[in-house]
Symmetry: D4
């Protein structure tokens, strides 16, 4: 594991998903974490997808984030070849409003969990990755606590505006 290995791998089935998945990357940057982003399609390049997943831990990646829609197999397949925690983001497609994506990602069989976040919640996927890494990193945990403090302050400010 080199010093420069990214902490988090963000993968998706197509580069057209990047504007959507970028929110995960941005939140990692806010917390000073390194990431890599790649197109890893479960259905169009399955062997490379498995290779990506099975090598990620040895390359020093600590958490994987995978966005997928419809019969969203990417998060679950990655989880089957890596010991790393995999965060799945259900991407809503044109029909069914992401319900198919959600069920395809979250309903994993015993033995191979995927940490699923809300439909379309790529920013929360990034925050969940931060929390996972912060579980063993007091400095990062302090940053998360500060982040939560700022969430609270913003909510307070909104309340003040409303009460005025």
């Amino acid at each position: 594991m080199t010093e420069t290995a990214p902490n988090v791998g963000i993968v998706m089935g197509s580069d057209s998903d990047w504007p959507f998945m970028r929110e995960a990357a941005e939140v990692l940057e806010e917390f000073g974490l390194a990431y890599e982003a790649d197109v890893v399609s479960a259905h169009r390049m399955p062997q490379e997808m498995l290779a990506y997943g099975s090598q990620a831990a040895d390359r020093g990646v600590q958490v994987l984030i995978a966005g997928a829609g419809g019969a969203a197999h990417l998060p679950g397949m990655l989880a089957s070849v890596t010991p790393l925690p995999v965060i799945g983001v259900p991407v809503p497609l044109r029909h069914l409003d992401g319900m198919d994506s959600l069920l395809s990602i979250v309903q994993m069989p015993a033995g191979v969990p995927v940490a699923t976040v809300a439909v379309g919640a790529s920013r929360n996927a990034g925050l969940l990755a931060v929390r996972m890494l912060a579980a063993s990193d007091e400095e990062l945990r302090a940053k998360m606590t500060e982040f939560q403090e700022r969430l609270k302050e913003h909510a307070h400010a909104k309340g003040e505006r409303l009460r005025r």
Copy 2:
């Protein structure tokens, strides 16, 4: 392709699914088609699963039938590595009544279709495999036509019993 290569590969995630998937095998036997049955778990043995899928056509298998439940990735992952038609059977698990299995199997992305049958319809999966093979086999098609004739006769007999 050897003479003895089975026409259809029937795969599932666990041998406990066999009592359920056996109905597909039985219907193939009724039509005189050879099959092989195997445990090929997308989540517990992903590399072997891909190997099974990518070698099936070269071994002479013509159609794959895959039963899966929940985040049912097996049919779709096989379809991504084989040029053969893959039939997916949504297996109903303890919760959600197979709706998760159905959506995870049928909602495949452009480029990689899975031929999905009804929730729990392993027998129909076998019959669909027969129809696929019969598309290029007049003798087999004649058998399917006879089979449909018998379905009709049974329905007639039921009507007679009811009208009596």
Copy 3:
């Protein structure tokens, strides 16, 4: 069966569905397969619909693709009168987002399967027809393998663009 009989029949309930179902036709052309397209409405011309279905095999058609929405009866009714494999495409209508179309097509009773693809997936219906025909046609299967290779290359190119 004449040499010139189309391999695939693509049918739909109205010519207004053609812009949608055309994607199935286009993919067949890419694979050098002949098709015919027709309006065959289960509810507005039921006898002709059954006639179309029951004669298709004798005319040399090998696979049927049927698009239908709402109480989508066309694929299932065709499947009841032909020994050919029938591919059903759930067409999303103004309400319920195609969930009614999907369930009406996929939940067929024992004895009469329909090979169902994703909501709105007419292109995948064409690809599934190719796979069915390729099950007994090595040349066509090689083309499908090449097609899958190109899918992979496109996905790779997308990954490169993203990593840059």
Copy 4:
């Protein structure tokens, strides 16, 4: 139209549905209406099914009741070949709790309506047939009014028992 032609045709896909559909027959008997019951399977005997539907009106039948489950095509297909009102009863199968049956029956396209009742409501199908016939039959309408009066009295009696 002969005097003895039954008013209502009750059809279903299998004689095993009779214990369920019998409730429709019983309510017709209570109202002194004649009925016939038959097995008419949309998927196993499609031509006979269409023949049944297209001849029903000429035989003097006035209303059709059809029970069906899953991809429940029977009511809609009958409606496409008869000018008579067709009442559809969604039969709940082992999975999906009748939601597939309901949507497959009720979501008919413009031009061909099916009068749909609740999941499993075969008795209400019979009562709806009575109301349809009573629309042009004052005597029958008076019976329906009496029936509704008795429903009210039973409800009153239940209230008294509870208040005691």
Copy 5:
């Protein structure tokens, strides 16, 4: 019952529903049937709603059509006070796509059926009313048969355009 009593009463909860429910009226006019249209709100004028329903039969109305959305009580409440057949049209509101309207209308308890049509299917509600009246009116039934013949011809013409 006077000669001039309308055959069908079309009711809805607000005059803003009229552009939507008008399709039912138009189809009745095509068949030469008289109708009346009124605002009868189950929740804003419940007593008048019940009065409307309980007097309809005595005024000579033969069928009621009621459009309603959300917790759509109008069709069911009318059915509880009239012996006439009541046709319910589930109106889709801003949320839930008409699924709430559909279930609220169709899932009536034993004793009081509502003839439910598809979400938003006001035209089919009119056609169902015609079929109900045609059950005892050979002339009207002949018109319905002609109407179905025209549906078929239109479908044929569409097929010709497509095949060209």
Copy 6:
């Protein structure tokens, strides 16, 4: 309003619902509130149902609780004729698991709200009635606070058992 007028009216469509709705009554008794229970069927005795609803406030009743299943019209219809708050309890029937009951009760149109509780939650309906009355009754509010204190103590005791 007499001293002896019950605070809460608990109504349901059949006395067979009493074992289920009794939980609402029991909780009222725990809080020393008077109730009356009655069978008031929206569909079998609509006029009496409206009479019950429109007289309840004048008789001194302060809150209505109504349990209903399927096309559950009772709570909404009562709310349309009374200025009192109406609490609706979605009763799960044999099919659809109470989802139809929930949507039929909660999705009321603007102007006529129903206070809806969880599927099958008759006990919570009673507790909600207590809270409504406690809004203007400090003594009752104190009892509710004590009740909540006891809920907490029970939860604590459970925690202790688990930690042992």
Copy 7:
């Protein structure tokens, strides 16, 4: 409890919800009831949220209205710390059409009810608050009765416009 304490507290997770929740406030003003509006986020300021809820009754607030979307925890958490009735408004978010919000609010466990209104029904939440307060306030109840009378008159006027 001071004379000037507002009767109703209207809370929401962000000031951006105010245009939506304002409808609840407006209806309270129509009935001459005082309210306060505040941003109280369950997830961004949980301690303050609990503080708000647990102090509301002592400050003289009589009813709480809480709007929330997605995993909508605000109404239920407030209900767990106050003896006051809490009205929950399911706010529809970009995906799932408010179904997640509805289930998260209404499906409360035994002991802690939330009075749930329709998806997006902030105006009805205000009207429900009025009814709750009117349960112990004859003057307010008279106003509600008048309000319902006006609803009826408006509906009548609509009917007249339609019948013209």
Copy 8:
């Protein structure tokens, strides 16, 4: 943080959930991780629940697992007061098959993610906690890799039994 602080806190709303949540504990034991189990009810002891959540990190706990059903607020509320990763297990209750629990847990707002696993998947919650801790612990990651190896071997053995 003391040496003996448990790595994982497993919490639930009632000790009756323990037989269900114990599967999470067992898997932690298999991996040699320490855990604590407690009853922490969001709705019955909200202040203690928040106290538990906000102190967990300082006590040295690294991951929280929370099981909850219906309007399942526990995981989300804990996530709002801790910087630790929170794993939510949707518990299926008597109605709605866990769909309410799933949506209430997974659909968290931006800023506060919950790592959601499948309906009823308490064992997978334990495995996900292991993966999270293994992200920064090579030894633990090696154990997870071994665990996945054993999953594969078991699947192989099942295949052999089936092929025999």
